[in-house]
Amino acid sequence: MAFSSESSNQAEWAAKEPVLRAVRLSHFYGQRVGCAGVSLDLWPGEVLGIVGESGSGKSTLLRCLSGWQEPSQGRVQIRREGEVLDLYALEESVRRRLLRTQIGVVFQRAEEGVRMRVSAGGNIGERLMAEGMRHYGRLRESARRWMERVELDPARLDDLPCTYSGGMLQRLQIAKNLVTEPRLLFLDEPTTGLDVSVQARLLDLLRRLVREMNLSVVMVTHDLAVARVLAHRLLVMMGGQVVEEGLMDRVLDDPQHPYTQLLVSSRLVA
């Protein structure tokens, strides 16, 4: 949608530029290392998986990339309609606007991403209202449409999220984030804690939305099976650093780094 008004020439040119670029990103918690010296590019329409065990710095990296945590060192650049914006050099008010129009973040714990005391419709409409929509009927119409798009029953529009199941909450988070049609989506362990059939349907939904909306996605997961289903490319993290990077099937089927080999071999097979 960002390229629709201009010539295909520009679309072609834009495809050659990453939508997101991290340059030597480091974040420290006092003496402890969250992530250290991570550089990465995310390309239009790409799903980048970040795998690693608990405490390897995945979530810290995701928070830094998605604008929620200013890194101790390094830069995060976002490309928007041909201009490159340095995320943490922007004034905070500008960054916030950018975050809610260009970026979506789906958290593992839905409580972090959803207002539990506000109805599903209010949650989905929140970004639209922040962007100035002041028409109740249109807000509801958008919310209803998005409930359908993420396969939630529109009859539950006025229900509070605390009455939703875990899988429904993740769908609600996705709807809430995608309602402003951002180009970047960050997923933090989106399927953890869901049972396998719910996981499978959620992954299907995500894959469909990524294709339909031409989203670029960074997904953090410890579950290699989820990475295999969704990711095009993988980063393997250990101790805050990227130890291996490559196409998803190359990394999973021919792991090079000893840690990646360990990770792949310790996967449970049902």
Partner: protein, 310 residues
């Protein structure tokens, strides 16, 4: 205000222009209107700032007052800072002049400032109010002082003070609409009936204090100066005369005020804000004006008309 610092040492006892000639009537041992002159000047400076930025909450060093928080410590400090010996003070509580709070604040200023007090809206120059705006339209030469319990309109949506500050600074008020949306989604209309959030001068979202939304339209372009004091929260804000005050609403769900199917049981008014009063324990009830002065005036006029006609 334009005194050059260092040239003259202000004489505390004669400052403020009230004490000249020793004609001041007040309580012996106390300064005029209870507060000391330095505190009054601090509050007046805050008021000037508040008037300059309509609807913006200005912090001030709120003092302990001889009444509990929640009884109007903010309003009373503003009144004490602006009142002069020639002023006529009216105090209302929920519209009524004869409630405990109103009576005691009136007597407080009668004692400490020796000012005249009144219950007539038209005669007052300063009106301190809790939770109502008088029915009789106010004039340019009057000042309305509101008692405010919670000055932050975002308080129940965003608990973090720092975040509230950012929302105001960037006029990023989308979150206020989430609350309105929830109201409409749950009840089919905007269910907020008091302390209805307003936008002042097209910029700041402001709490009008817990006045019924019936009174909200009266704030719009009011000829009188409106001052708001929150003693416990230590905030002062203001709406200068003839300033735009617009309630928040949706394009397709407009702001509406309360309506009653009855009239006042005492004066028969239909255009006043009515209180519902339970009169017995078998479900009896009646509606009467909340503004006791407006009700009394209307009854007096009816009596005059009646005797004039007979």
């Amino acid at each position: 205000m334009s005194r050059t610092p260092g040239l003259t040492v202000p004489n505390r006892s004669t400052e403020g222009g009230y004490a000249r000639g020793g004609a001041l009537k007040g309580l012996p041992g106390y300064n005029f209107a209870f507060l000391d002159e330095v505190t009054k000047r601090m509050i007046r400076r805050t008021l000037l700032k508040a008037v300059a930025i309509p609807g913006h909450q200005i912090p001030f060093a709120s003092r302990e007052m001889p009444l509990p928080y929640g009884w109007g410590t903010g309003g009373i400090q503003i009144t004490a800072s602006i009142i002069g010996p020639d002023d006529v003070l009216k105090v209302i509580d929920q519209g009524a002049d004869d409630t405990t709070n109103a009576v005691s604040i009136r007597s407080f200023f009668r004692k400490t400032a020796g000012v005249a007090t009144t219950t007539r809206t038209g005669e007052a120059t300063v009106i301190q109010t809790r939770h109502r705006i008088p029915e009789q339209p106010l004039r340019e030469d009057q000042i309305l002082v509101y008692q405010v319990p919670i000055p932050e309109p975002l308080r129940f949506i965003e608990p973090r003070e720092e975040e509230c500050g950012k929302v105001h600074a960037w006029a990023d008020y989308g979150i206020m609409y989430v609350k309105l949306y929830e109201d409409v989604a749950r009840t089919g209309r905007i269910a907020t009936t008091f302390d209805y959030p307003v936008v002042v001068n097209g910029r700041y979202v402001m709490s009008p204090s817990p006045i019924p939304k019936f009174d909200t339209p009266k704030m719009h372009r009011m000829p009188a100066l409106q001052l708001f004091g929150a003693g416990r929260e230590k905030r002062i804000y203001a709406v200068p005369p003839y300033t735009d005050v617009k309630p928040l609403d949706f394009e397709d769900v407009p702001f509406e005020i309360e309506r009653w199917s009855r009239c006042c049981a005492l004066c028969g008014a239909t255009e006043h804000y009515l209180d519902e009063i339970v009169t017995d324990d078998v479900g009896g009830r009646r509606f009467v004006c909340s503004d006791s002065d407006a009700c009394a005036q209307r009854r007096a006029k009816a009596a005059r008309d009646l005797s004039g006609n007979s």
